[in-house]
Amino acid sequence: MRSEDYEEYLECSYEIEGRDFIDAGIVSSQIKKGLKSKGIPESIIRRIAVLTFEAEINIISYAHQGTIRCYVLPDSVIIEAKDIGPGIEDIELAQQEGYSTADDAIREMGFGAGMGLANIRKSSDTFEISSVPGEGTYLKCVILLNGK
């Protein structure tokens, strides 16, 4: 599905500043609260909370700025994360569990263990990632509402 096809289902959109660790998690909690009020099953909300948090942390850790959007369709929820930043040089490598380009400051906070993209993939029913080094990264996660 192209984004034009689901634009009308946009629930909310949030801007995120790079390196703004203090506010990390605010966007995912807002999205979670919003989904709760729509009566989406708890177990599905939990998966969405995990992947949104990881996407948020990635933008904060590695990009200059980014946007996370949540769409609620009749049969699915779509989370899109788009950022402006250095992008990912090697997408295959970046998705390998344990691989991380985090600096020491990030690791000391407990991030940067190289599990973010793996967690996002595991939490989604379908997962798309693309990046242009020097420009930014785009993530799209689809979570089906009618069970796997």
Binding site: F21, I22, A24, G25, I26, S28, S29, K32, R46, A49, V50, F53, E54, I57, M109, G110, F111, A113, M115, G116, N119, K122
Partner: protein
């Protein structure tokens, strides 16, 4: 088993959200790698960690933990406490290292469950 009972038995000091100490604890999770805690901990867990930055509150709130126990004499900053207070997350602290705290907590939680 409530957080209040745990705090008493382990001599933990509560630093935020005292009103939520009566929350029931259904399990425990220990760890300092946030992706791991996000992926593997459960709602109702008490989370044992040495991390003290504000993001621990975001994680605990997202995962609906019963509360956070900060170990090893680590001291949560004012910002973390304020955030925890706002989110209703009790933060308890212990001078003991993680192994000791988890060991005792494990015995308490699992003997309570029979």
């Amino acid at each position: 088993m409530t957080l209040e009972t745990i705090a008493e038995k382990l001599s933990l000091k509560c630093k935020s959200s005292w009103e939520n100490l009566k929350k029931d604890v259904s399990g425990g999770y220990a760890g300092d790698l946030l992706s791991d805690v996000m992926a593997n901990s459960k709602a109702g867990d008490v989370w044992v960690t040495r991390q003290v930055h504000q993001n621990i509150v975001a994680v605990a709130a997202l995962k609906e933990h019963a509360g956070i126990i900060v170990v090893q004499g680590a001291i949560p900053g004012k910002d973390t406490i304020e955030k925890a207070q706002k989110e209703g997350i009790p933060i308890l602290i212990s001078e003991l290292p993680e192994f000791e705290v988890v060991g005792r907590l494990y015995q308490m939680i699992y003997s309570a469950q029979g």
